[in-house]
Symmetry: C2
Subunit: 122 residues, 2 copies
Amino acid sequence: MYYVVHMTFGGYVREVRETFRRDDPAYSVRRVAQRVGVEPAYLSKIERDQVAPPSEATIRRLASELRADPDLLLAMAGKVSSDLQAIVRRRPQLFGELIRELRDAPDHAILRVAREVRDGDW
Amino acid sequence: MYYVVHMTFGGYVREVRETFRRDDPAYSVRRVAQRVGVEPAYLSKIERDQVAPPSEATIRRLASELRADPDLLLAMAGKVSSDLQAIVRRRPQLFGELIRELRDAPDHAILRVAREVRDGDW
DNA sequence: TGTCATGTGTACTACATAGTACACACTCAA
DNA sequence: TTGAGTGTGTACTATGTAGTACACATGACA
């Protein structure tokens, strides 16, 4: 599934939507656009990367509609979830140090740290 | 020093600049503005919170000029450093989980985790 | 054969962001 | 008393963001 990382935002959305569509006509550009709350022409342009990715709010509704991970979709759009930003902003130096420290850490190390924190022994 | 958290961006900048100025006339609005590369009137408005905080690039130059922590200044401006955002965007789910897990953790717990990572035993 | 839904091209718009440019009144030092 | 430096008010602007609105050609299907 990691190949996704090399896709554009629009390309990924189109692929996911078309996959749903293969066995459900409710996933046409027009009908998805309507449920998401944007104009069909706009969604069409988004999927062909003719315009910049939409706002965070629209990306979230799109993610929900396409059963995609909002954080992943936001990342593909070059954005970071505003709730994560708020957490970091509350203690910028602390989180800054931690995140920069983890920049090159392998995935499993980050996961392990997260689990350690969850079983919080502080 | 934590009272800083309750200040506005502009108020903090003004306070820091005026402190420098008490024993160095090179820290007038005009001269700092010139070194930072903005119009004096603009810096004046920033310090009185008459306009939104400036761009990340300008905040960084301001931080450097005032020997302030860029992450802190950016946070006061409601922003998160773009390099941190880039790190998170590379592995959005992983960092998302970790950061949300740490939302309510005490400072020392986050620090401890960061140190653990630095003495990286992965 | 008409009509219905589909995807998309073109044109336009409202609001936010990130400032510049200039003028003005004030103060202090020579 | 003038002139250099100071802070700030007002007016303006360029670019980016996040879309809407409508028209059009196409293809299926009843």
